[in-house]
Symmetry: D2
């Protein structure tokens, strides 16, 4: 069974999401979020996060991230994020566009996690100096771009440094569910209780069609988000068809079940690869993404066998493997078998 | 039967659209438009428009409009559109945002159609003068905001003035299908053959869930649109779920059938209202939208009876009625009956 | 004596301004406004305005206007100003650029003065509606673009409407001194006592080389102006050479003397033209600018005689005449004589 | 004699500059650059650069830099410059503001010079990938932020890499004259002959009051600069008062003489400090700026003696010394003597 590990965005949406959308599609509903389902989603997310939140639904992760951050920095501010973050590397200049030209500054740290010591140096840099961009916000990716997950302690270390210096904190939760299950904590613990002001609560990669929630804990930031969403062209007229996705995602623990499957498949994959001595695990996968280094020829062998994944973008031999809510266990096993065959073959050779 | 005439965005999506999306959701597909369905949509739209077009799918009409226009004007340019246009009145400051701060200038004209004589005065205004914004593009709404439809001659008069002065032409086709059926011409005739460079080919109001196509005839404008869509946060990862909507919309003439129904219902509604002497048709509906003035008390009577529509936003007594691909004929008839009852009642009083 | 009435920006700077700059040029001084003269200017302007003001010096009037306004509106806001204002007609898209894409809306009114009744309709329009730009600020030109001057009552009528609706008020005082002398009131009366939050206190047209002061009465708006000035590229390194201009301008009533001369020359000019029956005064000049309509042939006659002024931009026959702090009385008289000669000549013909 | 080495922007302007401005101030002149002096400056700069150039005068170095670059990159582009460059560190977010939100990326390299090998890696990064900012321009500071000067070979290495990849090249010449004299080459050799498309030809630090010239060699970039300057608020009405500064600066080799003096004073200063064993020259000064490390206590000793310079912003003990066209030789000698006294004192102690 040949499967693709290229990304979790190659899968479609879960069945119950489709059922919910189709049901919502019947009858009329007021547009632009003035419908019952949209209100219901806010209630559900408030319950989930144990906090009275404001919610702004959009259809892409980039929109969720940059809209959130645009409410956190003036155009002369700087936003600190990891140098390898999606925000800095994969969203074109959407960050600059939406913030009216703020500066996005990469911070280092192992495993694509912001190093709080490096962060501390930057948050206080040239504050009040009109010649320099003013540190205004920090954005944390949870899961990170290399598949690691910040522990609650690590999160709090970063938010502590940020808050002390008066910076706001955004969490890019494109893979929120995968991270949460990995930490086995509550959504509240991983967000506002850890000092997060807004989270981009991702759902698209984990089973919806195209639905992301900007969940605002620090409600002083909410007022302008409605205007910003509209002027960004991200206010859907048939909003209930976004809301119904999110509602289905939150119903009957679909979001947890989907993420649990993806994480389990990754655990299986990682465990299997760990038994193959020529494969090097670069960053231990804590959720549903793994970076590892394959021996020469193995990637080509696997690709030739019909598997799919990204390579060739990083150091020699490095590949990225991502599992999703729909990755079949047989596919994972087949992949490991195939890698093992390659190793056996080259051993003999 | 109580129906709502508030807008065509209160309906859901057509069944075949849902079927197509669910089918597309199965199996994996490359993200961000690198899938077969997205390519197929370009082919279908090229066939439809009898022209080799570039296509950029997005999920909102505002995004389609402002992205299109952002490729047509420098930040120091001006974009001319009707003073009553959606662009100027209902898209917040998305136009300024996406163009990097161009000026949007309202032009007058009866029935919300740009007057070519007034336009001509503006297109040559202060050209080359650094103190003044530079006329760069014209945006035409077809159907207009009051439900009228430009004839091909009217379109050509505007594009002629525009082209002579070196301006590019955008068409806001949020209700493209409704206009086309009203004119009974080909898509090519209503667009590039009439001098249009880019059309926002709307589908959401006419049967898809959330899918609009930026269709580019003047392909010199295409290159930057890919970058602009991404930095606007409008590049969907699961693009095939947009594409499949558009594909279904274009398949088996769904788009024409849906618009034909909406237009027919409006024709019925208008004909019925025309028989009620106290009702004044403000702008004859040429597609699926009508503005009329009701006698005192009639709006309240209809609303109390369970019908829905917008009023109170314009001159005293003016209401807007919009039909959609799902408006039931019984509902239209019931509405007319109810209005007639009101008239009869007040006559007796 | 042939003089030019094209604009008050064709003159150079007053002698005492040059002396002050040259003196300030000696010795070293800390850059970017951290010098004594800059502090002194703030003290002088605070005294002048009888109010503890913040001051931001820049070198152009456009910069003063758009920086001031950028602190008064969010990017999704609208700024209301007269349709004939400099801001809307002569500053390219600087307003949109500096505000991050706010909308600038023209309001009507006789003599290029905002009509408070028309304003009232606009300030409350669609407040809270994310689809529409949000009325945020009003900008008043004092002197207006046609040479009229708002009375204190007229100013207060506008600021009253604005404040009631929660809008901030900016005054474009490119010809502040000319207006003030015309009204014969105090600077405080014409600004903060009348409800103005920030004034662009112009000096360049009235005797400095290139120096304008953003004078902030509503100090909650000050904080961001320092950052905005820098990112606009308007923070001069050798700031004392701007400050010394402003200091000289404010010393020994230079600013009043210069404006008094300009206004007196215009009064003379207007009085003279009023005696020529074929000349029509369009808007009575209240400061140093006049729009009048000349009979056919007179403009050409005057231009041929060596006088200079703008015409041909407005209705047929309309010309603009501007006097400055350096306009010689003989020049004014010669102009009137020349016009009279023309009339006499055509009478005989 | 106590002198300040804080910056070359603490000095005033040269006498002949003042004489020229005062002369230009007499009589009337057309505004906004439509005067003879402005035209003359273009002619003079064309002669100086042995090339038919376009010239845009502005009054600050930040404006010159960011306007130049704004014509070289789309908003989704990236501009590569040294991590220590003024552009990245001292101009707030003006770069993002003027480019409509492009990304500014720091490149490493010794002595604040871009390393062409590192540059080469970046210029081809993710070209055509809509998810990533697109390398569009390179900005080189000549003199660099640490006082080093690129040799012609070094310049050509960078422009070669840039041009091969299709990137445009900007030179930040805030200290152009100081660099030129250091290299002893022609202005043409250091700019367009070396592959530079636009230079910010600085004059303010070297003897004018506030005048910088954007000199455009690649004239395809010129057209939009006029519009961009205006919308940035940088088009001076009394332009001749900028032009006359630049004309005086270019007349009788004032610019070379001034820079020669500043460079000579730095050479003297550096030579003197080199004889004091406890002082470490960090980057050998090639123009008029020097970074050196003073032994503990020496900076305080010099400051207490009345000298001025910046320290405390970099590594421990590091200070920056800048000479200008007006730095007196006695002051340099006094500084060296004072440093020597300190060393003698601490030796004895």
């Amino acid at each position: 069974m040949k499967v693709a590990f290229t990304s979790d965005n190659i899968a479609g949406a879960s069945d119950s999401v489709w059922q919910a959308m189709m049901k919502a599609s019947q009858g009329d509903a007021m547009p632009y979020g003035n419908d019952d389902t949209t209100a219901e989603v806010t209630t559900m997310l408030s319950a989930l996060f144990e906090c009275d939140v404001d919610v702004f639904l959009v259809s892409t992760g980039t929109a969720a991230n940059v809209l959130s951050i645009s409410a956190m920095t003036p155009p002369w501010g700087s936003v600190l994020c990891h140098s390898e973050s999606h925000l800095l590397n994969d969203e074109s200049t959407a960050p600059e566009f939406y913030t009216g030209g703020a500066r996005f500054v990469g911070i280092g740290g192992a495993d694509a996690k912001i190093d709080p010591v490096m962060l501390k140096k930057m948050v206080n840099q040239k504050v009040g100096d009109v010649h320099s961009c003013q540190p205004s916000a920090v954005s944390i990716s949870q899961v990170t771009e290399v598949g690691s997950v910040y522990s609650l302690e690590e999160l709090r270390a970063i938010t502590h440094v940020s808050k002390e210096a008066g910076l706001l904190v955004h969490m890019d939760g494109a893979r929120f569910a995968n991270a949460l299950l990995s930490l086995d904590c509550t959504p509240a613990q991983m967000t506002w209780k850890a000092g997060v002001d807004i989270v981009s609560f991702g759902a698209t990669k984990n089973g919806t069609m195209a639905a992301e929630a900007i969940v605002v804990f620090n409600k002083t930031l909410s007022k302008e988000l409605g205007f910003r969403r509209k002027r960004g062209g991200h206010l859907h007229s048939k909003m209930r068809l976004l809301s119904s996705q999110m509602k289905a995602y939150l119903t009957d623990d679909l979001w947890r079940k989907n993420a649990a499957h993806a994480n389990a498949m990754m655990a299986l994959l990682q465990a299997g690869l760990a038994t193959i001595s020529s494969v090097k695990i670069n960053t231990p996968a804590q959720a549903n993404m793994l970076f590892c280094t394959l021996p020469e020829g193995m990637a080509e062998y696997l690709l030739a066998a019909g598997f799919a994944f990204y390579g060739g973008r990083w150091e020699k031999g490095v590949v990225r493997l991502v599992t999703s809510f729909r990755t079949p266990q047989e596919g994972v096993e087949a992949f490991i078998d195939c890698a093992r065959q390659f190793e056996a073959g080259t051993d003999q050779g």
